[in-house]
């Protein structure tokens, strides 16, 4: 049944790829966009391009370029693609404009959920959400009589059973690559245990029981992973899943579709999407969004055009043609079984990623510091204390701590 629907969806997307609904208006001004490069942005920028005179740049270095490029006068780009955290430098430097007027004029189809508001002003339009959630091989868990894991204790127990049964190389996969990925895993775990990262004075607050517990859970999980977990990123874990080497992983919702891609995957239809395992307080995950901003340093007429182009990029036609590429927030999206994990994670009370300038510094410090505990170079308390020290040094340099 699932297969059939996928094939059908594939066929539709093929059709739509060649005969997209045309743009509603003809764009006269040259509009440039700078976004990240993953599949959802590809779909959106392709849809924008139908309006003509649109130059889309999907750049992996966008994080480095965006703040400077938008600060130039005139701005080098008109439309920007951002996420929870990457919008911050633009907001901080005041290089993006409020969108309320344009929303009133051209944005009737937008859902209230899509309007990112800062101090009552709409600063960005969200298009999708993303979160890490549990994916598991229902066939393996079913054969071994393991119930769907709900907490990390369940996950560890299931992993022990799978390891004993020896049906896969490694029971677990994890996006534990040192740096951003590893920090994100800690953030998920720590949020799940109800922790907060900084206090009102921007001082670090991670060296506590919740922090130690998060580290210990992570280390316990790594015992069931490929020993090379410190170099495995999302793509690698996805590949391990596709090759049938692992049975469970906490993986990004955007990766769900790849499990059922017959051209790459040997486990088509065998992977179930479930909510992220519960920490002691809430699901060990964080919600992310991607969205669109418009530059401030451009003429009003151009900004208006850019906004209309952007609206064409995130319209119903685009979503219908690319339904499974992301968990869209846009009207017309039909959540399928692949989105079930993200939906269940959100329903269970996962919180948004706590994006802020100090959080970004904390994220970097975590990314560089957590590995020392996993490799056994330091104990949990020392690791957390060192991360706090690294954070404090960086935050002082950035002016966040006096």
């Amino acid at each position: 049944m699932l297969m059939k629907r996928l094939v059908l969806a594939g066929a539709i997307s093929l059709l739509a790829g060649t005969a997209y609904a045309d743009c509603a208006f003809e764009n006269k001004m040259e509009i440039k966009s700078l976004t990240a490069g993953f599949a959802a942005w590809k779909a959106v920028t392709d849809a924008m391009a139908e309006c003509g005179n649109v130059q889309a740049e999907l750049d992996q270095e966008f994080r480095k370029k965006q703040p400077d490029a938008f600060a130039a006068n005139p701005s080098l780009y008109d439309i920007g693609g951002v996420a929870n955290s990457t919008i911050l430098p633009l907001l901080a430097a005041g290089t993006i404009r409020p969108l309320d007027d344009y929303v009133a004029k051209y944005g009737q189809q937008l859902k209230p959920n899509q309007l990112i508001k800062v101090d009552g002003k709409t600063m960005a339009i969200a298009m999708d959400v993303n979160a890490q959630h549990l994916m598991y091989r229902s066939d393996i868990l079913g054969d071994l009589g393991i119930a769907a894991p709900k907490t990390y204790d369940d996950v560890l127990a299931a992993a022990a059973k799978i390891k004993a049964a020896g049906v896969v190389d490694y029971p677990l996969g994890g996006t534990y690559k040192t740096g951003w990925n590893l920090a994100e895993e800690f953030v998920n775990m720590y949020l799940g245990n109800g922790g907060t990262f900084t206090d009102a004075n921007n001082m670090p607050t991670i060296n506590n029981d919740a922090g130690v517990k998060s580290l210990e859970t992570m280390k316990a999980l790594t015992a069931y992973m490929d020993p090379e977990y410190l170099v495995s990123d999302s793509t690698y874990v996805q590949q391990q899943f596709q090759q049938g080497k692992i049975a469970m992983a906490n993986l990004w919702a955007t990766r769900a579709a790849a499990m059922n891609d017959a051209a790459e995957s040997q486990v088509v239809g065998k992977v179930t999407m479930a909510a992220a395992p519960m920490g002691s307080v809430r699901p060990a995950s964080s919600l992310w969004w991607d969205g669109i901003v418009i530059a401030k340093n451009i003429s009003d007429a151009k900004a208006e055009d850019a906004f209309r182009v952007a609206m064409e990029g995130i319209d119903k036609d685009m979503v219908q043609a690319n339904n499974d590429v992301a968990v869209w927030l846009i009207d017309g999206y039909v959540p399928g079984p692949l989105a079930a994990g993200a939906a269940a994670t959100a329903a269970a009370g996962a919180v948004p990623y706590p994006a802020s300038a100090q959080m970004s510094i904390m994220h970097t410090a975590l990314g560089n510091g957590v590995a020392d505990y996993l490799t056994g170079a330091k104990d949990a308390k020392t690791t957390l204390a060192d991360i706090e020290a690294a954070y404090t040094t960086a935050a002082k340099e950035a002016g966040l701590i006096k």
Binding site: R63, K64, Q66, N84, S85, T86, L88, P89, A92, A93, G94, P112, N113, Q114, L115, I116, K117, V118, D119, G120, A126, V129, K177, T178, A200, N202, D226, P227, E228, L230, V231, Y236, L287, W289, K296, V327, L329, A342, A346, P352, S356, A357, Q358, M359, S360, I361, H363, T364, N368, A371, L374, T375, A377, K378, T393, A394, E397, A398, G399, L400
Partner: protein, 341 residues
């Protein structure tokens, strides 16, 4: 040559180096003593972000940068003296660890960890590159004439291939169940995870660098071998010198300037080792000085970069380079003097 003529000849080159190397360098030097930061105000902000179905609005006190009349953030620059250097070197912790002879603690501090690897990487790969390069050069020089062309071609491959791609291709052979790992597992009979061990990753990085640079040494040495004086060689043979003695006392002294040249280039290149760290994603285990600078300069999600610390770390790297080069610089100075007089 008159100064005017000289200036015209070297002018364009010097101008480009001034513009793109010297000026940035001076600004890096200056930045290492200053800190520039935005002025933050504590304000209550209400933020609404999308949930899966309904919006989540939170109201909290945030540090928000102050904007001036034009909407640009207000920044202030302070002179901080050697503070950034202290932040990089962490002298208190380093000294505490050193006085206890606790090297493993010292090596958990980023800068010292990076310095240890960088120096070791430079010193371990240097002799390996020289020996491998010389061995290939001698062997190719020994081979039948008709085979030499193809041999040189194959030998040069690792050197010309784009470094990013070379590192990736080696990485694929070893990562996970890559075929080299699979082969080693088969040969040794137990499970191996190259990327799970600090020493194995480090060894792989040494291997990659030697693989990549030995061909350069080879081609230089091979060129040198073509100019070995045949008369000297023959008289050595008449004197009854063995093959090894001829290599040791005739060939190697002839190649000495080239060995110095290759060493010089290799010292400079390997001291700024960087591609390997990124290519093999080894940050969890080993980092290098240039990677440390790069990491400090990489903006985080909020666009913050640690420019002052990065500048300090860059200057410290430079000092290291100059120390390494001093013996060679002195030799060049003597050569120059003797040439002039």
């Amino acid at each position: 040559m008159k100064f005017r003529t000289f200036a015209i000849f070297v002018g364009p080159s010097v101008f480009m180096m001034l513009l793109f190397i010297a000026f940035p360098l001076i600004s890096v030097f200056k930045q290492s003593f200053y800190v520039t930061q935005p002025v933050y105000d504590q304000v209550t902000v209400e933020t609404c972000t999308p949930g899966f179905l309904k919006q989540i609005c939170t109201s909290e006190v945030k540090s928000q940068p102050r904007l001036d009349a034009n909407g640009a953030p207000v920044t202030q620059t302070r002179f901080v003296g050697l503070q950034s250097y202290r932040n990089v070197l962490e002298p208190d912790r380093a000294w505490a660890a050193l006085s206890r002879w606790d090297l493993s603690t010292l090596l958990t501090i980023d800068f010292w960890k990076a310095l240890r690897f960088t120096v070791m990487f430079t010193l371990v790969t240097l002799p390996l590159v020289l020996v491998t390069g010389l061995a290939i050069a001698v062997a190719v020089n020994n081979a039948t004439k008709s085979l030499r062309g193809p041999l040189i071609f194959v030998s040069l491959l690792p050197f010309i291939i784009t470094p990013v791609i070379g590192a990736l291709s080696i990485r694929w052979l070893f990562i996970g169940d890559g075929i080299m790992t699979a082969f080693l597992e088969w040969a040794l009979g137990h499970n191996i995870s190259v990327f799970a061990n600090a020493w194995a990753i480090e060894a792989l990085m040494y291997f990659y660098r030697v693989w990549h640079v030995a061909p350069f040494a080879f081609v230089i040495f091979y060129a040198g071998l073509q100019t070995v004086n045949q008369d000297t060689l023959e008289s050595a043979i008449i004197d009854g010198a063995s093959r090894w003695q001829r290599l040791r006392y005739v060939v190697i002294p002839h190649l000495m300037p080239l060995i110095v040249f290759v060493s010089l280039i290799h010292l400079m290149d390997s001291y700024r080792v960087f591609d390997e760290i990124v290519g093999f994603a080894s940050q969890a285990y080993v980092i290098s000085l240039q990677w440390l600078t790069y990491d400090l300069l990489t903006p985080d999600d909020s666009g913050t970069r640690a420019i002052s610390r990065a500048s300090a770390s860059a200057m410290l790297t430079m000092i290291g380079i100059v120390i390494l080069l001093i013996p060679l610089l002195r030799k060049t100075w003597r050569d120059h003097k003797s040439q002039v007089h």
